[in-house]
Assembly symmetry: C2
Homo-oligomer: 515 residues x 2
């Protein structure tokens, strides 16, 4: 049995102690093992603080961007191999795997271009010079400076490639050394990426801990950053961690998100805009088996369209073949782990007590090509809430699987926005309408509650990636329940790893510093 | 005895329960009292969420800026009265009081102008449109949208006017209703401001709780923001507060800061740049009796200049008359409370164990115009650290009083920056040099550790406000020990009260939303 090693302190470390299995979630076959601990994490932090920091400090934004470009090539060059690992260890269909792996390469490429554009300086200017004295001679100039410390990346199980790449791309171009901790259950892809990335990067720039975090956070100190993607319970633990509090460690959280999709009152289901809503809902329910932090969970449609929407979802979801994702005829695989399956089933049961069935019962399914009783399968489930604003479980519990709930409203933009807000902060929500006044009212009231608002319309339907796709150029993160974090968004994504500093002094001195 | 009421839920509430005295820290005379509790804080939050939010939502940036302008006028119109309260209740000299009160009016005026410039829209654009699809039709546009919730402002005792005004100005222009809680000990100024502001602002826009916070934070909910200025122990409590964690409340902290000042190796003390360092150190030690979060605490000078710097500080500090700040001949008053005095004395004792005396002993002083044994007085104290990088108490404990420590170094910019970094994050630090290469090296290495870097030079010396002055146009806040927060900085100061949101859709729709 393969024992996955971690890349720490310049060497591959197998760790020690008991071993944890990594399985194929469709077959429950054990694919590899990881050690439960036994790594010298203090040495890893020292390596990052010395070798990693020194190497990065010697490189400009453009040179660090070039490293991102080389990493993107490494991902693309091993695409088929990585896809096979994603299918085996992630329950991914080939399409799911592409979404993760190609998304990772795309994000690295985006930051390669950004690095090139930022050029050869070491400080990033923030805004224009400001006169702060009697004359223009006494001035201020804000800049962003790379933080001195280690960026610790704690990633979620659902995107082992994209999660590793998107966090790494931002930290790398910003100039901070990284220690990444992929989720254990789906670590085969991340482990292979760590192997592929190692020869590309200077020493200490990227270290990857495969397996449990252990005492990772106990090594945190002044200047460090933690970027976390995962559940809100773990996020609370992180916020209260004594090292994070005592050392003012910057913490970025991307946590639970009950993303909403709203159909405008002007939209016919048969038109492009209506078809876009349906396609986006079905894609978000089934892609990655609904295990996307950006997936639509709550759907609000005008009362007059409710029956039609239900029928359309029934029809489309009935055509989704669920089973072993290694098969070409399968459109949706299992969820990633036994625990995820138990959580999804518990979530469906909680939701079922407050809603009516539309499709899929409690997710019972006979998966294609799988031995009876094996695999972590749950079928697509649609529920309906007669009074959606008052349905507490709908707004308060994220079900991380192929489950969505529809409900009716009167069609006014204010209620549509209030429905978004009812989730208490989300990564993304979407509205589908070709009525610009309605959209403007919706955006004004919904924007405070979402990190991204996707505005579906007939004009962009043909080239839309859907709300479930986090793009490198746009902010990824959301307020409140979603954790209050910000990732990506082009240059904005670097700021987590930099300190904004107001320089104050003689205007010509400031100009020479920023260029 | 006057009982100070709080302005809550549209009425003046005296509270109930035991009473706490507000004293004159020079004479220990009781000036007024506040109730220890008994306010209906749930009603205050409801008032903000309903009346306050509704009123602000009906106003544009420009209209909210106009309110700031009216508040600035209210402050200036009552200047003499406010100065008298600052002198009596704050231990302020007239100059100290001006710094606080005029600073508050100036900050309000700055945000009045900013609001006018931001105009009539409701969303603030963030960056340019971004193509995210195959063609320019599929686009992204980041915006800032006003958060729906209440801004809770917890202010420090040292700036009862400026602290209230600077936080209020940002929240008001951003469009969030405010509940402010000034520090109890020096609340006479804030209480009078609350009286002056009440007729200027629409209902629910500003409420002021005079006295202990009680269960204020237990009212926090989705969309709320807390901006805190104070000690790091309280900041830790806030970070772990269950309502803040459970509701994703945004928390901005401005806490302890061990600000450094460094003299470049090129500087003669007799020139403009050297004189600026000396003037800034003496001002920061004595203005507000050293009770400024931005005050210089740590001074690093080239070995060759050390004796000269010590002599100059001795000479200048010996000329500072300490006593009852109501007297015209007094340059420095007492610290604000008995507790502050005890803390400063304990800090001096801790520092004394690791340093040598330069001036002022342990701060013993015979204050002018004060009855024997009365008042919370401590004289200016300068200590010297022979090996400043290794002097732990110097870098780890903020002494919030008229105390500074000097130490020598070899003159290299890297050591100068490492000295700044040794404070583990500060609001501001300063360097005094006319050697641009030296300054560039210093800035590159020190900027990650400071929210502001003040670069003293001969060219700006004549019009410099000194590092201890937080300007509305420049960022105020700092990494690490300083809390990791950001306030002010012009438009940047609004962002705490707004959510950044990526709008994604048809380019012409996005353009119509942002204008």
């Amino acid at each position: 049995m393969q024992l996955l090693a971690s890349s720490l302190a310049g060497a591959w470390s197998a760790g020690s102690g008991s071993r944890l299995p990594l399985v194929n979630p469709a077959t429950e076959e054990v694919l590899a093992e990881v050690a439960s601990g036994g790594h010298d994490l203090a040495a890893a932090f020292r390596h990052a603080r010395t070798a990693g920091a020194r190497e990065l400090a010697g490189l400009s934004f453009a040179e660090r961007g070039a490293l991102c470009g080389a990493l993107a090539k490494a991902v693309s060059g091993a695409r088929e191999e990585l896809l096979a690992l994603a299918i085996a260890n992630g329950g991914n269909t080939r399409g799911d795997g592409k979404f993760d792996i190609d998304g990772g390469a795309l994000t690295l490429s985006h930051y390669a271009e950004l690095g090139a554009r930022l050029g050869t300086g070491r400080l990033l200017g923030d805004g224009e010079p400001i006169q702060v004295g009697r004359t223009a001679r006494m001035a201020g100039q804000h800049v962003w400076a790379t933080r001195r410390g280690v960026a610790v990346h704690i990633n979620a199980f659902n995107f082992p490639a994209w999660g590793l790449c998107e966090k790494l791309a931002c930290a790398l171009v910003a100039g901070m050394p990284v220690i990444a901790k992929p989720a254990t259950a789906t670590a085969l892809v991340a482990h292979r990426l760590a192997q592929l990335f190692e020869p590309v990067l200077p020493p200490g720039v990227l270290q990857v801990l495969i397996g449990p975090a252990g005492a990772l956070l106990d090594q945190l100190g002044d200047g460090d950053v933690v970027a976390f993607t995962g559940g809100s319970a773990t996020a609370h633990t992180l916020r209260a961690h004594p090292r994070i509090a005592a050392h003012g460690v910057r913490l970025n959280v991307e946590a639970d998100s009950l993303n909403a999709a709203v159909l405008g009152p002007d939209v016919e289901l048969g038109g492009e805009t209506g078809a876009l809503l349906l396609a986006d809902v079905v894609r978000d329910m089934t892609q990655k088996t609904g295990q996307k932090c950006t997936a639509i969970r709550r759907v609000l449609v005008p009362q007059a369209r409710l029956a039609e929407v239900k029928d359309a979802l029934r029809e489309r979801l009935a055509a989704i073949a669920v089973g072993d994702p290694a098969r070409d005829d399968v459109r949706m695989g299992p969820v990633a782990t036994a625990q995820q399956l138990a959580d999804v089933r518990a979530g469906i049961a909680r939701l079922a007590a407050a809603t009516e069935e539309v499709f899929g019962g409690a997710g019972e399914i006979a998966p294609l090509g799988v031995a009876a009783g094996k695999g972590y399968f749950v079928g697509p489930v649609v529920r309906a809430a007669a009074r959606p604003m008052e349905c507490a479980p709908l707004h308060e519990h994220e079900i991380f699987g192929p489950v969505a709930t529809v409900g009716p409203y009167g069609g006014d933009a204010e209620t549509a926005a209030a429905f978004v807000a009812r989730g208490a902060g989300c990564l993304v929500s979407s509205a589908y309408s070709d009525d610009r006044d309605w959209v403007a009212s919706f955006v004004a009231a919904a924007a405070p509650w979402a990190g991204r608002l996707y505005l579906g319309s007939a004009k962009m339907a043909a080239q839309s990636p859907g709300p479930g796709t986090a793009l490198p150029a746009l902010l990824h993160g959301g307020p409140g329940r979603a954790g209050g974090g910000e990732e990506l968004g082009g240059e904005r994504g670097l700021h987590l790893y930099m300190q904004r500093c107001a320089l104050e002094g003689d205007a010509s001195v400031l100009k020479s510093l920023v260029g």
